[in-house]
Point group: none
């Protein structure tokens, strides 16, 4: 199929290639803001990013698109080109729904809110943060309502769809409802089981030595440093573009273990990006399939691989040579499988983590529907934390509802992706083991690359060429099945 046989499709390919160039710059601006930019540069950067967002929005809503997409659909296309056209149409619809004034207003409010949040959070300054969040939430709700009307779904469903196309509140209520029915009890059982474990001291380690260690671990996971970097930011993330993936972490000199696993986690995201199909770079079909699938790759790396005994054994020599660690294998395993209800989502262990998501899911639903006012969020937070994890957060905004960046940038509907990702990851592992045998044995025998190879074949290299359900069926034989996650937790922790 060549350009001549479908000139409309070729026009679209060129147009979306342009969009991807501007999105490249947007990704760079975001990364720089979080890692390099001095505080005082924020205002001008915010204005530049808002202008860029407006321009990208205008390209995604170009008047010619609707007709050109229809015309392209009527001429010959390969299956993959059809998939690309489907993604183009999805992006067009997603962008076209929201008026550009709202996009600009929300981008500006988000920059302002996030910028202030960085300092407000460390000062536990809820009163300072609240008005910014209220402003941003009202814009986010406006967006949700507009999307909802256009897609004929509920406002919160419309937000979920941005990150996990096709996911609904109803499905999540079922999946999360089931989770809620057994997870708190499991947490209790695991804690009882772990009660007798002896405590020990984690050696201190400088940020520099942790960064050196991090790079070694990224090499073990075959991260391509010719197409990416590792830096420091206050909130770890994986950004940049597929050809230049920028991941970040933060280092606690008193406890290297969390920064280290942060790197393993973000490397999982990065591997997905670096593995996206080269032939489809710059096209919608060349992007990662969904945010939950993105999280599934980071969680596969961190939870399935990273916290397992074989991987820990693999990295132990680096811990002793680079950090002078004398932790035994059992102690390391203990650290990385210790279940302790805590305040902070990003520091949570694999078992209590979903509780943090259940809370946020309930909060977001209620914020969007208007049942919960921003002013009442801290109280809601504390009461949910008490019922899910037995922790009171009254007055502790910093480690409560101010801890995440998501709401501070006006992003609602993302949080469920984390737990959906954990479920997908367990499902991938199960399918992989059916094909390749026990993953722990593979890693033990030096075959971590076959594990990565399986993920590359089944997920990374597929980009968005398949629907989520089709990707899951082709890679695991079934659509999302949360049972694998339950089995994984029980198998590892009981």
């Amino acid at each position: 199929m060549n350009a001549k046989s479908n000139p409309h499709y070729q026009t679209l390919v060129n147009h979306f290639q342009s969009i991807s160039h501007f999105e490249h710059l947007s990704a760079l601006g975001d990364w720089d803001q979080a890692t390099m930019m001095p505080m005082g540069g924020g205002e001008a950067r915010g204005a530049a990013m808002a202008e860029l967002a407006k321009h990208i929005h205008s390209l995604k809503t170009a008047p010619m698109l609707a007709q050109t997409i229809s015309e392209a659909d009527e001429l010959p296309l390969t299956e993959q080109q059809k998939a690309n056209l489907t993604e183009m149409r999805y992006q067009y619809l997603q962008a076209n729904v929201v008026p550009s004034e709202l996009v600009v207003a929300k981008t500006k409010a988000a920059y302002h809110c996030e910028h202030a949040w960085r300092e407000q959070r460390s000062n536990n300054d809820w009163q300072g943060f609240k008005p910014n969040l209220e402003n941003l939430m009202s814009l986010a709700k406006e967006e949700a309502n507009i999307r909802a009307e256009a897609q004929n779904v509920s406002p919160y469903d419309a937000l979920l769809d941005k990150f996990e196309p096709g996911m609904t509140t109803a499905s999540l209520e079922q999946i999360f409802g089931n989770l809620k029915s057994w997870l708190p009890q499991l947490i209790q059982q695991v804690q009882d089981k772990q009660k007798s474990e002896a405590s020990f001291t984690i050696p201190t380690a400088s940020a520099e030595s942790q960064a050196r260690l991090g790079r070694e671990i990224m090499n073990i996971l075959d991260f391509d440093f010719n197409h990416g970097r590792l830096d420091i930011s206050s909130h770890p993330f994986c950004g940049g573009v597929a050809s230049d993936v920028r991941l970040t972490t933060r280092y606690d000199e008193g406890d290297f273990t969390s920064g280290l696993m942060g790197i393993v986690h973000e490397t999982g995201h990065a591997k997905y990006e670096q593995g996206l199909p080269l032939a489809w770079r710059g096209q919608p079909a060349g992007l990662a399939r969904s945010m939950a699938l993105h999280e599934s790759q980071s969680l596969f790396c961190e939870m399935q691989v990273g916290r397992g005994p074989a991987f820990l054994k693999l990295i132990e020599p680096y811990l002793s040579s680079l950090l002078g660690s004398q932790l035994t294998h059992d102690q390391l395993t203990n650290i990385y499988t210790r279940v302790t209800p805590g305040l902070i989502r990003v520091d949570a262990d694999e078992v209590t983590y979903p509780c943090h998501i259940l809370l946020r899911f309930e909060a977001e639903k209620a914020l969007v529907s208007g049942e919960l006012a921003v002013a009442d969020l801290p109280e809601f937070w504390s009461s949910q934390m008490q019922s899910l994890l037995g922790i009171n957060t009254d007055g502790d905004y910093k480690n409560g509802c101010m801890q995440d960046i998501h709401w501070a940038v006006g992003e609602l509907g993302y949080f469920p992706s984390y737990t959906l990702g954990a479920m997908y990851a367990a499902q991938f592992r199960n399918a992989m083991e059916c094909e390749l045998g026990c993953m722990e044995s593979l890693i033990n025998s030096g075959k971590l690359s076959s594990v990565m190879g399986w993920l590359n074949d089944k997920i990374w290299s597929q980009g968005s060429l398949l629907s989520i359900d089709e990707l899951m069926r082709q890679s695991t034989g079934e659509t999302l099945n949360p049972e694998h996650f339950k089995k994984h937790l029980i198998g590892r922790y009981l």
Copy 2:
């Protein structure tokens, strides 16, 4: 004067504000490419930056501009708004004169030529470089001819005007002709005088300790780290935007003195940017006045302040505490005022530097007029180097006519800015001393801030609100007067 009284002007303000937002992103992309980007990210970045350049060009040549500028000119404007409108018209004409096919052809040829030059230079491969340079020069001449016709000036004047609005070949011939009449003799005299100075060893210093030192020195110069950064790149530069100035240097662990003065130099550029008028940010009138004036600020910082005894005294304690240096004040002064004719422009001292510019000015004029063929450039170079600095460069292309990046990217007309900058700097110092008294005494008595304050008032905060001549008259009482530079050199070196 408000927006209602001149809506056309307001339209232009908004339009140029948009352009500045995209230029912000362009500056970020350039900085990142030179400091942070992994090699493998280059291709996608190049494509994104080309897309951005195309977009900025389309904004600068928007069809509505010609008429809107005329209409704005017919309605009430303040003096400063008039100055802004003048700059808008200048930018519009500069961008509009050259047909976009020629811009694209030259950009491509420049990319090809520069890319190959990097390797050709290190291989001393003149035969490989020559055809690329010939191709690029013929495009540069085409551009010069088109600009010349549109502006009704000579082709080389049109190129000079891109960097130093209003500067002409005739003026430069007079200024540089005068320089040529006394500089070679001065160099000889200084060398005779310095012959007897004893040699000594410069202590080694790690890149980390040099970076710490650099930041201390930047603090002394009152660089605003809330609006800027210091990083490493293979070629030092000052980039970013006024609200977030990114300067770079490189560290030679065997000789800290050049990296250190590189930081002082780039800080001079940065101070100009940081001092540009806040009220005019994002508007053409808020930009630095010209490239020669930009160089005047870096050279003021480096040559007038940085290499003077009072500043060296100020930084000596940092050299000993951070680098363990035991260099005496006399030795340090000796390092920073030693005059040695050499092959490389960027390594040249203050006295021999203008000779490198005289050579390039003559070469560019002759290349553009056609009197000199690219093939004859090496011979021309060697003969000029012999007559100006007594150095034969026959066969040494690498350290001869292939040493600079400027021609390899098709940039002609920039070189004179360096020496004009040195002259402006000396003239500023003279005027400042008439008002504030001896600068060395001011620095000695802890009043470096009054020096910086004077520059801020007279130059930085003026942006492009005054013409170059008017700026010079208001700050120094006269237009460019090269005599001050001559007096400075004689005063410092004889």
